[in-house]
Structures are given as C-alpha cells and as structure tokens.
Amino acid sequence: MTTKSSHLLDYENKWVALSKDKVIASGKTIQQVQKKLEKIKDKSAILLKVLPFNATYSP
C-alpha cells in the first residue's frame, strides 16, 4: 500500500531530519541527528520524532 508517509517506515521510534519530504539523517536521539546535520551543514532540515506505528497518540 502506498502512503504519503511511506518515507518514514524505516524510522519507527527514531528522530529524523526531513528535507523536502526526504529523510536526510536519523538517530535514536535529537543529539545524534543534530551531529549528522552539522556534518552536512544543513540548518533547514526539520526534526521529527517518528512515533510508534501501532499506537494512536494521546499526550
């Protein structure tokens, strides 16, 4: 099944950095992703916590 969020399927429970709907960095923590972004000097990618896929979210 094709979904609009299929680019996130490999990143359950991880932090990712998104640029134009593509994952350009990922890690278990924000700090890990931030270090990768510093290496590639990308200050515009947007960080996102990818939540578990098998649960709805009620903060």
Binding site: T3, L8, Q31, S44, I46, L48, V50, F53, T56, Y57
Partner: protein
C-alpha cells in the same frame, strides 16, 4: 488587519491490528527556538489543545545552550497517571516568520514537542482545526 497563517497536518504511518499501514494525520507544525541570539534547528511540534502549557524535549533547549535545571522545576502529569519533571524557561519561539517570547517547560522525558494552551494558544485570537481538509489555521 488580522494576520493568518496555516499549516497542513503532517501524515505519519499507522499500523492497524491486522498489520495494514495507513496515514494518520496530526497537527504537527514546523517551529524553531531562539535563545541568546542562537537559532536552533527547525522541528515539528504538535498543536495540542489538551496540554495546559508548552512541553518540549530538553534536547531542543540544550542545543541552544540553555541550562535546563536552572529553570523552575515542576511536575507534569498526563494520561495513565505518569508524572515527569520539567523545567520552565522563557524563550523565543518561531512559527513561520512570526516570533513569540513565551514560556516552555522542558523535560528530559518528553519526546514530541507539545504546543499547549497557556503560552501558545494564548498568543492567538483564534486557532482553527479543519479536520476534513487536515489544516490548522492561526489568527493573530
């Protein structure tokens, strides 16, 4: 004249009990923080009318040089009687091109940044959730 801006909900994967995968749309909007003239990496934050206040992961402030534990500490409770400790800081929040000086609670135990009523919703005259078109609109 009212200043409006809006964001489409962000689709994320959801797996039903049979293993089928769908998109679940959430009102996650791009935001960024600024502290002591340093601007942080953008991140998605959930617009959450059920949260009393803003609650963010501590890491988003630490990357700006904020000394988390210097903030006033407080207990925050959510579903399931879970309680976490958070530290309040006054910080600049950017949404789109707009900046707002506001208070945010930061916790080492929080994952998704939550934009709550006091300190975020309170900055706007109106916030509209349009579930059918999956859009959240902000009216200053």
């Amino acid at each position: 004249m009212a200043t409006n801006f809006s964001f489409n909900y962000l689709p994320q994967p959801y797996k039903d009990p049979k293993g089928n995968i769908y998109d679940i749309y959430r009102p996650l909007i791009p935001a960024r923080l600024s502290y002591n003239h340093k601007i942080g990496q953008p991140f998605y934050a959930l617009v959450d009318s059920g949260s009393d206040k803003n609650l963010f992961p501590a890491a988003l402030a630490i990357m700006l040089g904020v000394n988390i534990k210097k903030g006033a500490s407080k207990n925050i409770t959510g579903i399931g009687n879970a309680t976490l400790i958070a530290y309040t800081h006054s910080i600049t929040l950017y949404i789109g091109t707009k900046s707002f000086k506001t208070e945010i609670d930061f916790s080492y135990d929080q994952q998704t940044p939550l934009l709550g009523r006091n300190g975020f919703f309170s900055l706007f005259r109106e916030i509209k959730f349009s579930e059918k078109v999956k859009l959240v609109e902000f009216i200053i």
